[in-house]
């Protein structure tokens, strides 16, 4: 509860600081506020209370996902410092909207009432539409914003209609009450409830860019400024999958057989389409977009085996967020000179900036799921749960897709270490992005050693 208040206050403060042109204190203020929110959120661990007329909850699920998202946002705020070096005219707005997006994400993972769920998603989405168009003069950025807005509002429509139908069937918006009503009538689930459930499912599939609702993702990811893309790939994806799991586990857990089959098909499609399309990409941002789609498929496994998968989903989200943050940071680094985001710009990075190349290798290994890294354990625990649930098809396709993905992740590594660079000059280092790369790369290796501790956080 105090986290939410702190973050909101911080949002207004950064807006005022930005508009009065005190740009030099923007980053310290943001980091200070996020640290405070992080600490206050720590105090909520084990409190487990409801607040705001029981519309939101401080359970372990909400607190741990919020922690991850606050930490990731802090890293992205650090990166923004580098991005806004030249032109500070929009910096205040950027930090403000970033923080408001985080508020939306927090509401999304700690909702206890359907209205809060929807408001959270809307705070998050509307802020993101603006962020996608952050480069006002760039046509691609404008196109991304408009596409994201149209598709996103369409998805919100589905979601709202679904919520309305679930309300019609259960006469309540509190997720606890809905769960009770659903359980009571589980022998003969009302058709209205099922239609509502499917509409919510479609809306959420849009938001996490699961196939066949993924078409917006590559264009939006490519057009948006890289900084914003990294935010979409990490915090937003974490929030979306966490709220998906929270809603379906709590509300519709008792009628799992009605919707897990649909999700199984979606997950297999998402993994396969994401990975196979990624093989053909020439642009690194598009490649990461398709890789993000396939990872959404893996995360969907966590929703399918909803019963005790929260810890595994948390772990996978952390691993994926860290790895893609590393990759995006290095991409920002490489493309800062001429804005080129093609895969060929990685050629010979191993000779130019060895440490960046090593960090990138760690990130790619983690995304592909190679043993010592966090990505491996994330996949391992999800597959483990799926096997225990008897979902053999899912596990089979998951393994197959992991193998496919190795090809394009390793292609980047080959580019960095084997191919000759276009120009030999060393890239200018900058402390904030170097710090982010170092923290995330070490983080990937570090949480690979403590998977059990993280997975058992959420009971």
């Amino acid at each position: 509860m105090y986290t939410l208040i702190t973050l909101s206050t911080l949002g207004f403060l950064t807006l005022m600081v930005g508009v009065f042109k005190r740009n030099s204190i923007l980053l310290p203020l943001t980091l200070l506020g996020l640290t405070l929110a992080f600490v206050l959120n720590c105090l909520d661990i084990k409190v487990d209370q409801l607040y705001y007329v029981s519309m939101m909850g401080d359970d372990m699920f909400a607190v741990s996902f919020t922690q991850v998202m606050i930490a990731t946002t802090a890293l992205i705020a650090l990166l923004a410092h580098y991005q806004f070096k030249g032109d500070m005219s929009n910096a205040g707005e950027f930090y403000t909207i970033l923080i408001f997006t985080l508020i939306g994400a927090q509401v999304m993972v700690s909702f206890n009432h359907m209205v809060m769920f929807f408001i959270g998603i809307e705070i998050l989405s509307i802020s993101l539409y603006i962020l996608a168009g952050l480069n006002k003069k760039d046509k691609a950025s404008n196109e991304a914003a408009l596409k994201y807005f149209l598709i996103g509002s369409f998805a919100s429509g589905f979601l709202l209609m679904g919520i309305a139908l679930v309300y019609a069937a259960t006469h309540s918006l509190y997720i606890g009450d809905i769960a009770e009503k659903v359980r009571a009538g589980s022998e003969m689930s009302s058709p209205i409830l099922i239609v509502g459930l499917l509409l919510i499912l479609v809306g959420m599939a849009f938001k996490i860019s699961a196939a066949p609702f993924h078409f917006w993702a590559p264009d939006v990811y490519e057009g948006s400024p890289t900084l914003v893309t990294s935010f979409m790939a990490t915090v937003v994806k974490t929030a979306a999958i966490a709220s998906f799991l929270r809603l379906f586990f709590i509300c519709f857990g008792s009628i799992g057989n009605e919707w897990t089959n649909v999700l199984t098909v979606l997950a297999i499609l998402t993994m396969s389409i994401g990975n196979i399309t990624a093989l053909y990409q020439k642009n690194f941002k598009r490649l990461l977009a398709y890789s993000g789609i396939s990872h959404a498929g893996f995360l969907l496994i966590g929703v399918i085996v909803y019963a005790n998968s929260a810890g595994a989903v948390l772990y996978y989200s952390i691993a994926y967020s860290l790895a893609s943050l590393t990759a995006f940071t290095i991409l920002i680094f490489l493309s800062s000179k001429n804005g080129d985001t093609a895969i060929t710009s990685f050629n010979g990075l191993g000779k130019r900036n060895p440490w960046l190349a090593v960090a990138m290798t760690i990130a790619m290994l983690s995304l592909a799921g190679i043993p010592p890294t966090a990505g491996f354990f994330g996949k391992y625990y999800l597959f483990n749960l799926a096997i225990r649930d008897g979902q053999w098809w899912l596990v089979g396709f998951g393994l197959l897709n992991s193998l496919i993905s190795v090809y394009y992740y390793f292609w980047i590594i080959i580019c960095m270490f084997v191919k000759e660079p276009a120009d030999e000059t060393k890239l200018q280092s900058e402390w904030s992005s170097l710090l982010v790369v170092t923290v995330t790369a070490i983080g990937i290796l570090a949480i690979g050693f403590i998977p059990e501790q993280i997975i058992t956080l959420i009971k």
């Binding site: 207004f12 807006l15 005022m16 009065f20 003969m188």
Partner: protein, 122 residues
Amino acid sequence: MDSSLKIYLPILLQLLLVLGFVAVNMLVTHIIGPKRNSIAKDSSFECGIEVEGNARIPFSVKYFLIAILFVLFDVELIFLYPWVVNYLELGFKGFFEMFLFIAILLVGFIYIFKKGALKWEE
């Protein structure tokens, strides 16, 4: 029919009634109403003044901005009415919450003011 669907029968009936009302009225006026056509009457905006030029002309985006801001602060007032009506009942807590609401809007107002959204010239 499934028994759980049966409770939605009134909604279906109302839908039919509404659609039927519209359809019947349009049909009846079409059939029994007198028909007197003229060029002026058939024009798009029949209001006594002659149509002049095209509606699709470029206009200053400032109009749009001012209109949006007007709507924002106009809606703020609507929220004040229910609070005023229940002022005594809500007490200090309600006063504080309303104060917070206005303060948040004030931040927005300072923002648009400093950004120059209200400057009409230039």
